[in-house]
């Protein structure tokens, strides 16, 4: 199956995952050192989802993200320096330091924002999908969200709405088995989250979210269908949250045996092996890692060196100025 994936895509997904992992490891550490204010939810362990999904997308395709959003922006082409500066609350950040980790966004890359309201993105993405449908182009729009988010009313309304309007919306559930501290069996009873798609007559699949190839292929067929007017799809990616819900979370609620096995599945290591098996040289893969490491080093230096936002910035961007001539 994975052999179907063109090697350049396979390599690019590897690079994406590595960049996400490095970024998240770095911000986790920087957070501990007090460099990053606010909340920090890392995506470590879940990299294959963003990487596998976004490898199917074009620049013009839209995505919307969650409180755990860095990986999605990176996978959609985000620059680590502008991201790091945003997380530092610096003027040079993607969003002038006004958004931070939970609201990082780059519409020019089709990334409509991390979103700190669980479930909200699913409703918004329909609008982006509708724009594509309305304009008659073959764009698609992807909402990422967690297993916990599928219990929100917003999710339900959004799924039904997408089905009824036959929108090119793709709903990607990152099922990491937890909503904050609550294990999934305590917040929903169904076996697979993808069963929820039945309620909307929408195709739903469950894939191994630690296998970037599987994520890629499942998304590919959903994207192809959506691009050709076939309507929305739901993809459940089963994955693992390696760290706490956010960086301050001690995870006492996670059973000890589970803690010991969290890192047993490592999508990056597995994909590396896959690539090696396909004949990619270790050196080439190491170079990808080094490039990422270098990029990250630059990003931190950039963020450190960047100025704080001018206090006057607090009062701008509330409204778009209105031009006199209507």
């Amino acid at each position: 199956m994975n052999n179907e994936i063109p090697i350049d895509v396979a390599l690019s997904m590897y690079g994406t995952m590595v960049r996400i992992r490095r970024f998240e490891q770095a911000v986790s550490e920087l957070y501990a050192r007090g460099k990053i204010p606010g909340f920090l939810h890392t995506y470590i362990g879940e990299e294959a989802v963003a990487a596998g999904v976004c490898a199917n997308l074009r620049l013009e395709d839209k995505i919307i993200s969650t409180h755990r959003g860095h990986g999605h922006l990176i996978a959609k082409g985000g620059r680590l320096d502008l991201m790091m500066a945003e997380l530092f609350g610096k003027a040079t950040g993607y969003n002038k330091g006004k958004g931070g980790s939970m609201h990082i966004a780059e519409p020019d890359l089709g990334m409509l924002g991390a979103n700190a309201i669980v479930g909200a993105g699913a409703a918004i993405i329909n609008g982006a999908a509708f724009t594509a449908q309305y304009l008659g182009n073959d764009g698609v729009a992807v909402a990422f969200f967690g297993d916990g988010a599928t219990n929100t009313g917003t999710f339900h309304e959004a799924m039904n709405f997408a089905a009824v309007w036959n929108l090119p919306s793709i709903f990607v559930c990152e099922n990491n088995g937890y909503a904050e501290s609550t294990p999934r069996r305590q917040h929903q009873k169904i076996q697979a989250v993808a069963q929820r798609a039945v309620a909307y007559d929408m195709p739903g699949v469950t894939v191994d979210g630690n296998n970037v190839g599987a994520v890629y292929l499942a998304t590919r067929s959903a994207v192809q269908r959506a691009r050709s007017g076939g309507g929305p799809a739901f993809i459940e990616c089963q994955t693992t949250r390696w760290r706490g819900h956010h960086e301050a979370d001690q995870q006492h609620y996670r059973p000890k045996e589970e803690m010991l096995t969290i890192e047993d599945r490592d999508a990056i290591r597995d994909w590396r092996n896959e690539l090696l098996a396909r004949g990619v040289s270790a050196a080439q893969l190491d170079e990808i890692e080094q490039t990422a490491a270098q990029e990250l080093e630059n990003a931190v230096a950039f963020a450190e060196a960047s100025p704080l936002p001018d206090p006057a910035q607090a009062y701008t961007d509330i409204f778009t100025p209105v031009s006199e001539a209507l």
Binding site: A105, A123, A128, N160, F161, V322, L326
Partner: protein
């Protein structure tokens, strides 16, 4: 000038904007063939087709989410929330998403969406279908609010709202839909943030919102016969709010009554009174009076509803109170 109803004027605004800009589309519950609960969008499906006039499921959060997302990506949605009360299902999309996204993203998005929201009571529709909730939104930076009080403004403000690159709510008064008024024939826009001096007067300023403007006019006529000269100001929009016009008037009259149908406590009347009291402090001859619904849910029985909701009698009495103050 043509005479038409508030409903027709709104429909004309929608028609003109749909014709003017291909990016404009309408969405909401039962707005297509049915024309909406208040028949405002009737005929538009025939004129513009199902691509642009779109029914939705009963899903207020999804409706507004679609508006936010499509506005963020190049379209100009006009969403209808069938009754303002139903904002209770979907506040998040208005206040946490539409109103904040541009700011949170450092100015990287525009959200040119409009929400049409019928508001108000006086129809025995009881507690869950009669509210005036503009105060909720005035408290949240990032969203504009218009409250047309007559057909001409209804058309002109809605057109301005649709052209505005920001999220905007237009609160339509259900009791005005059948009210007729003159509407200019030539194209026009009513600018946001510019109050309408509905009537000039010297003794007392009445700031009135939505259908309280008509009640204020009625009271003013009666008061005129009793020798009290009332100036009536219709702010037209709450965000932006033309406080300058209000303050100028209060400095002239020295007396202020603020009237809205929403519950008195916590209503925008408090905000307007506080700002006017601050800026016209030295000019005030009497305490500022506020007219609003008594602080109760809206009852069903018509006689109870009349008891709760303000009308010309309340404006009249409030004016007398400020006129009689101290004297």
């Amino acid at each position: 000038m043509a005479e038409m109803t508030y409903r027709e004027a709104i429909r004309q605004a929608l028609r003109e904007e749909l014709a003017h800009d291909e990016r404009v589309y309408l969405l909401g519950e039962d707005i297509a063939e049915f024309g909406g609960s208040f028949k405002v969008t009737l005929e538009l499906l025939d004129e513009f087709g199902p691509r642009r006039i779109r029914n939705t499921p009963i899903s207020e959060m999804a409706i507004l989410g679609c508006a936010v997302g499509s506005a963020s990506t190049g379209l100009i949605p006009v969403a209808e929330i069938m009754y303002s009360d139903f904002f209770g299902m979907a506040m998040d999309q208005v206040v946490n998403q539409a109103a904040k996204m541009r700011y949170m993203f450092g100015g990287k998005l525009e959200i040119p969406m409009t929400i049409r929201a019928p508001m108000g009571g006086r129809r025995s529709a009881a507690a869950q279908h009669s509210q005036c909730l503009e105060a909720w939104f005035m408290h949240i930076p990032g969203i504009k609010i218009a409250m047309p009080s007559n057909p001409s403004d209804a058309k002109g403000l809605l057109k301005t709202a649709i052209r505005d690159p920001n999220p905007t709510i237009v609160f339509e008064n259900k009791m005005l839909y059948n009210v007729k008024g003159e509407v200019p024939d030539e194209p026009y826009f009513v600018p946001f943030g510019k109050a309408n001096i509905v009537r000039s007067g010297n003794d007392v300023t009445v700031v009135a919102l939505s259908d309280m403007v008509d009640y204020a006019l009625k009271a003013a006529k009666q008061l005129e016969q009793e020798g009290v000269s009332v100036e009536i100001i219709d702010p037209r929009t709450l965000v932006p709010l033309d406080m300058d016009a209000i303050v100028t008037s209060v400095k002239k009259t020295g007396r202020l009554v603020v009237a809205h149908e929403a519950n008195r406590t916590g209503g925008v009347g408090g905000e307007i009174a506080a700002q006017a009291g601050h800026r016209a402090f030295d000019y005030l001859k009497a305490p500022i009076e506020r007219v609003g619904a008594a602080d109760a849910p809206i009852p069903f029985a018509p006689n109870l509803e009349r008891e709760i909701l303000p009308d010309d009698r309340h404006v009249y009495q409030a004016v007398l109170r400020v006129m009689d103050y101290g004297g």
